[in-house]
């Protein structure tokens, strides 16, 4: 049996700044349920016209990599520069690469 708690669950908030762009993680908040989380996310994160759409996800539903595994997971990529397409000569006409 879980202990009764007065804490509302934590939600992660993702906001789409404008049409065509991706939803971006912008913070978290406490809310009693998903519907109220959307409303409160609107209040807390979009009151200066930052967004056109909001997603909320229960923080406990996110599975994250273990910070202790950082070395094992990410360091091996350090010396593999050949995975970056930086050795190609780009023609002048190709901009913004």
């Amino acid at each position: 049996m879980s202990a009764v708690t007065n804490e509302w669950p934590l939600w992660e908030v993702f906001v789409r700044p404008k049409a065509g762009l991706d939803h971006k993680h912008c913070g978290s908040l406490h809310a009693p349920d998903a519907k109220m989380a959307v409303q409160l996310a609107r209040e807390v994160y979009t009151r200066r016209q930052e967004g056109t759409s909001v997603w909320v996800v229960k923080s406990s539903d996110i599975t994250a990599s273990d910070p202790g595994d950082k070395g094992m997971l990410f360091d091996p990529m350090e010396d593999k520069v050949y995975r970056h397409p930086t050795f190609y000569e780009l023609p002048e006409s190709v901009n913004h690469m």
């Binding site: 908040l29 406490h30 809310a31 109220m36 409303q39 409160l40 209040e43 807390v44």
Partner: protein, 291 residues
Amino acid sequence: MVPPSSLRSRHPEGAPHRPGDPSGAGTSSIALQLTPPVQYVLRIADTCLIHAQRLAEWCGHGPVLEEDIALTNMALDLLGQARSLLSHAGRLEGQGHDEDQLAFLRDERDFFNLTLVEQPMRRSSAHAPGGDFADTVLRNFLLAAWLKTLWTRLAASSDDDLAAIAGKAVKEARYHQQHAGDWVLRLGDGTEESAARLRAALDRAWPYTHEMFRRDAVDAAAEAAGLGPGRDVLREAWLAEVAAVLAAAKLARPADTPFLSTGTLGRHSEHMGFILAEMQSLQRQYPGGRW
């Protein structure tokens, strides 16, 4: 409190406000030239203004950070509506009064808000014993539903400015109603204590809703001029929406009572003077102060 000398020097103590005084605003109350259209607009403007002032009492005191921000956002929406309407009332009045003068230099008898919005809604706010978060939630809901119904009809006003203000405000009121309605649902159909508190808040608020639909000569004049609806017209749509949420929240609708509050006539409850004292003190101590 003694104002800094730089502020005091422009306005010697006790100097009355002289119309057309080039030094700007004075500290004494303005004389309102009241006509039915001016009173019609002021009723809505003052209801928004005083409700905003009451909601602002929660700033920094909300039950949780997120709801604190939500309440303040709503107060700011309402303040924005009040500002537009006060400016418009000033234009209709034709005496050159701006929104600040109308908000801060009117006496209690010249305010025409619904009496409901004056009532205490936060337990520990100054001079306001007895309030509760349930009062806030419920009043927000009752008023948002009323204002939404009103804005919807005002969007078709023969007065273009009023129609434009209403067209913008109706979106805000829709959201306020949804947010407050969700809270009514949660508290009413929540724990025993939350339900008991919301029932008590409903019993406190309900008698004041009579005034929301009491038609008088000002309403009749507004209707005849195409300015906006009489208040009686709003009742059916309002009641349908309110009754649906109360039923979902498992709350019985209180019986209607003959009690009729009179804020829209300028006769207010004992709480109004304290609200105005707090709201107006700065502008009256530092006349024309801007920042």
